[in-house]
């Protein structure tokens, strides 16, 4: 369902220094619903890979097929259909600064055209699940880092997307919260959703015992069925 084919991404710098090679000829396949972790040092290219899947950036070379469709050939005005099928936890959260936490999460369902009743039921339920039930009417600026992160997770899950791209979703969480979130992602995976988890959290990777793709300086150096965190 997700096919990464010879993807390279080179960021040309504006100030005339030498360009950054963020991804260097990467290929891998996700055929059936799968829980895939992408690990690698800071700057290895994890976020870049997720941005390319979401068509937020376009590749310098190669293509990415989502259900057989080249995502970078989709017209900008039609990208919304692709993105509605993907839930993203952004590394920098990207919560709507002028919307409350409730509105942040509800927005994704509004986009899909859900009914008001359905929305309020689901949103309250998921905010309860990530432990933000008493933060419903606060704005993102009024939340702690970990709370923002949990709000971002709630927003990525709410519309039951086919694929979840989670970029360092536990980076700001304490170990208890972090394992809770990973357990939640694992449960969603068991219901048939593909999860792509980018992280450098060693314990999480080792406890999962699932497929691990290791990136280093933009290259895939390992792709193991039951991987461990080794750098």
């Amino acid at each position: 369902m997700l096919s990464i084919q010879n993807i390279s991404k080179i960021y040309s710098s504006k100030s005339g220094e030498k360009p950054t090679i963020a991804l260097d000829n990467i290929s891998f396949e996700i055929t059936k619903p799968e829980f895939v972790s992408v690990v690698g040092k800071s700057g290895a290219g994890k976020t870049t890979l997720l941005k390319l899947i979401l068509a937020e950036e376009s590749p310098t070379q190669g293509k990415i097929l989502f259900d057989g469709i080249d995502v970078h050939k989709i017209k900008k005005s039609h990208l919304s259909c692709l993105r509605q099928r993907i839930g993203v936890v952004f590394q920098d959260y990207k919560l709507f600064p002028f919307k409350t936490i409730y509105e942040n999460v509800a927005y994704v369902m509004e986009v899909m055209g859900a009914e008001e009743k359905e929305i309020s039921r689901d949103v309250l339920q998921i905010l309860e699940l990530v432990g933000l039930a008493d933060r419903v009417n606060n704005f993102p600026a009024e939340l702690s880092g970990g709370e923002k992160q949990r709000a971002a997770i709630a927003r990525a899950l709410i519309h039951r997307p086919e694929v979840i791209l989670a970029d360092e979703p536990t980076g700001n969480l304490d170990p208890y919260n972090a394992s809770d979130i990973v357990r939640l992602l694992n449960k969603i995976y068991e219901f048939g959703t593909t999860i792509v988890l980018a992280t450098h959290n060693k314990e999480i990777i080792n406890s999962l015992g699932k497929r691990v793709i290791t990136l280093d300086e933009g290259k895939v150096i390992k792709d193991e069925k039951r991987g461990r965190f080794i750098l």
Partner: protein, 302 residues
């Protein structure tokens, strides 16, 4: 579909009321732009009335010597009426001139008395000529001065009025030229100003718009609320301007009437009410929505 539509309107209204200070700033600028449009629009009927009033007052009178008989004058009249520039000729006989004088000054015994002292009718018969355009008087007068009737004519009351006539003529031309020129320049400035205000307002939401794109909102779902906001701002601004226009016309009315009773500001307002309302609404809503659409474009690229 209907849910989305309702949602877009609700969100637009919520954004409008949440950012009330920014909204009021935009409304304020918009009121100025619409006022300008109104001014340009209303200037036209006002200047037209003014010009036609002045043109009405411009004419040429030809006074005939005492011994010229009415028959001869009527002959001149039929000759002059053949000149294509002439619009209208009125004949005032010596008796009519006298009657007019008595009628006008009947409350002034001193003047009436001096008239009886003179002992005979001192007024001259005259032809009163109106041309289609003020620039054409020159020709008519030349014809009379040099033509076959020049011996019958006592004096032509044109040179006395000439400065007035020429002023009217140049005023008419100047009003048209500068009016259009100034209007276009001010209009461009005002539109840019309004557009810029809206651009800044949308720039504030630039980050939100990018995130909306990333979580899968379609372009129209994103644009919708901004359009609604543009409509609301335009609508409120148009109504405020209408009230201001009403107040201004009402206030000026009596003052202008005191000087020039023929110009009724308030009547002009009433006569043009619907087109005025239409122009104000179109300016406000059109500017609000089009500016939003243009300003939002660059944030939809992601």
């Amino acid at each position: 579909m209907l849910t989305s539509f309702k949602r877009i309107i609700k969100t637009g209204w919520k954004n409008f009321s949440r950012n009330i200070s920014l909204s009021s700033a935009t409304i304020f600028i918009m009121v100025m732009v619409i006022s300008l449009a109104t001014l340009l629009f209303i200037f036209n009927p006002i200047s037209k009335t003014l010009i036609s009033i002045l043109q009405e007052k411009v004419d040429v009178s030809i006074y005939f010597k005492e011994e010229v008989s009415p028959e001869e004058i009527l002959e001149v009249r039929s000759e002059v009426s053949k000149i294509p520039e002439v619009e209208e000729i009125g004949f005032i006989s010596r008796e009519q001139a006298l009657e007019k004088f008595i009628e006008r000054y009947k409350d002034n015994p001193v003047l009436i008395e001096s008239l009886t002292e003179v002992g005979y009718n001192p007024f001259l018969a005259s032809l009163n000529i109106k041309a289609h355009q003020s620039s054409q008087y020159e020709q008519v007068v030349k014809f009379l001065e040099t033509g076959p009737f020049k011996d019958l004519i006592d004096k032509i009351d044109y040179y006395q009025r000439r400065p007035v006539i020429e002023k009217v003529f140049s005023f008419t031309a100047a009003v048209n030229k500068t009016g259009i020129f100034l209007g276009v320049i001010l209009g461009v400035i005002a539109v840019l100003l309004a557009f810029n205000t809206i651009r800044i307002a949308i720039h504030n939401s630039g980050e939100e718009i990018s995130i909306m794109r990333l979580v899968g909102a379609s372009n129209w779902f994103i644009r919708g609320p901004f359009l609604v906001q543009g409509v609301v701002v335009g609508l409120i601004a148009a109504l405020i301007t209408l009230l201001i226009t009403f107040g201004a016309c009402y206030g000026f009315d009596s003052k202008v009437r005191a000087v020039a009773p023929e110009i009724g500001f308030f009547n002009i307002f009433l006569a043009n009410f619907w087109s005025l309302l239409l122009i104000q609404l179109a300016t406000g809503i059109g500017l609000g929505t089009v500016s939003s659409l243009i300003a939002i474009r660059k944030y939809l690229k992601i």
